[in-house]
Amino acid sequence: MTSPLLSVHELHKSFPLQGGFFASTREKCLAVQDVSLTLHKGETLGIVGESGCGKTTLARMIAHMEKPTAGEVRYKGQNIFKFSKTQLKAYRRKTQFIFQDPYSSLNPRMTAGEIIGEPFVIHRSNLAQDIDTNLESIMKMVGLSKDHQRRYPHEFSGGQRQRIGIARAIALRPEIIIADEPVSALDVSVQAQILNLLKDLQDEFNLTYIFISHDMGVIRFISDRIAVMYQGRIVEMASNQQIFENPRHPYTRTLLDAVPRL
């Protein structure tokens, strides 16, 4: 296989717990412990686990929103935590994030058009008139129409807001999209629409996804490979088929057994 697009090497993250100003011994919360993984171009890596298992912290470190206590994240072989300012800006352009809560992740004072156009402004990649033409095609891609552009987030439904979040993420044609529970706040019928959209966009732009979810059904549907996390560690990592048809780790089995069957 070709060299990975992104790789994570023995990543650790701990947060200090309570311990006031004079506390001599500080207890630590080990959020992520010894996590290593690789990500190849065009694949979807699903990360599944229960709340508090460290999946979001891991994703935030990969997106350079959080610094690890130890370990490296390498993008095309280079450690992202040693990037210069310009390198980092380029990396951030290539790695985009889709958030869980479509209600709190959009600025209520900006219109949908401004939100989706903001990445262009930040990265100064296009002139004003180009933003307009781009905007329309991007909004169309995610299933929004042109007259949605002037509306504010509160005028949209949960599903439409998540579409805005997705539009903002794909605006700059990134390579990697990190989606942190992007459908867990949505209704079943809307969830199906968004999942299909994510797959369609992946086909069209050859996107690489890190897809975080606690829902085994969603993970089954979207992931090529799956990492199961428990208490900060990856306890099992295998292909979709292996995880679901031949789970090895007892925790993976527990997770699968707990899913109500239709």
Partner: protein, 327 residues
């Protein structure tokens, strides 16, 4: 079934008078619930399932809400005709409710023991010591370790699953005839969800309580309910035994919902797409004419756009469906 139903809801309508006109959040809903059964009510956000459960508890704020029509009978007692003082004696004793958010439905400034004790003191006239002992007993019953110690804890000292257990302990304290569980496991992890649901089922069996389980998760319904009602835009569109519903959904909306759930059975294929229900749930202020589902329905017929179908019983089984295809 020889016993009379525990709960009888007949043509219940709960409407809200707002600036945008009258919102019919619950519109002509009828069903009855037998002793010891679980009725699952499924629907997407905004379909009126929470307003329905609040109506049964008489907790809908009036105004702006009002009970426009119908009867709610609990063991023959007409709940809508009771005064507020009389209703208070019913709540927590004969009917109780578990809410979705175990974080916000407990009072953060009282110890959990005090919150469970309140039920005993109000409804059974227990004194302080007695109600405290009973609270400890309830905590033990819902599977909390060291209940003598935990009873002195504040809600923030407990995890989400434990808080939901405390809520269940409060709800079941007086052995109610009916328990309403509004998305009781939505905020919980799957493994905790499985524990909580089996706890509700065990206690239900031991106490003979009937349960109305409100959820958007069809998987939870499949494993825990005997009957299920599918709700769409304020109305029941299908009502059936759980097995019938899942083996042979009749209403196009039910069918669409069942197909759009990603499942863990079956093969993984990257090219696979989920069958979707196009569009979104309509706003209650802008309901389409005719069948409320027709704009999203794959089997739409000319009559659907004009006239609304009734919820019609099917000849062969106990089920009923609101769709022109079957009338």
């Amino acid at each position: 079934m020889s016993l009379p139903p525990v709960l009888n809801v007949d043509n219940l309508s709960t409407w809200f008078d707002t600036g945008q006109g009258v919102l019919k959040a619950v519109d002509g809903v009828s069903f009855h619930l037998e002793t010891g059964d679980t009725l699952g009510i499924v629907g997407e956000s905004g379909c009126g399932k929470t307003v329905l459960s609040l109506s049964i508890m008489r907790l809908v704020p009036t105004p702006p809400g009002r009970y426009a029509s119908g009867r709610i009978e609990l063991n023959g007692l007409d709940l809508l005709s009771l005064s507020e003082a009389e209703m208070r004696k019913v709540r927590g004793k004969a009917i109780s409710m578990i809410f979705q958010e175990p974080m916000t439905s407990l009072n953060p400034v009282f110890r959990i023991g005090a919150q469970i004790s309140e039920t005993f003191r109000l409804h059974q006239g227990c004194d302080r010591a007695e109600s405290n002992d009973k609270s400890i007993e309830m905590l033990r019953l819902v599977g909390i370790d060291l209940p003598e110690k935990r009873v002195k804890d504040y809600p923030h000292q407990l995890s989400g699953g434990m808080r939901q257990r405390v809520m269940i302990a409060m709800a079941l304290a007086c052995h109610p005839r009916l328990m309403l569980a509004d998305e009781p496991t939505t905020a919980l992890d799957v493994t905790i969800q499985a524990q909580i649901l089996s706890l509700i089922n065990d206690l239900k069996r031991d106490m003979g309580t009937s349960v109305i389980l409100i959820t958007h998760d069809l998987g939870v319904i499949a494993e825990n309910a005997q009957q299920v009602a599918i709700m769409y835009a304020g109305k029941f569109v299908e009502y059936a035994d759980v097995k019938d519903l899942f083996s042979n959904p009749l209403h196009p909306y039910t069918e669409g919902l069942l197909h759009s759930i990603p499942r863990i059975a079956g093969e993984y294929s990257r090219d696979k797409r989920l069958p979707i229900i196009p569009g979104v749930v309509p706003e209650l202020s802008q309901l389409p004419q005719g069948c409320r589902f027709h704009v999203r329905c794959p089997d739409v017929m000319p009559i659907c756009r004009v006239e609304e179908p009734v919820l019609l019983g099917q000849s062969l089984s106990k089920r009923s469906v609101r769709c022109w295809k079957y009338q």
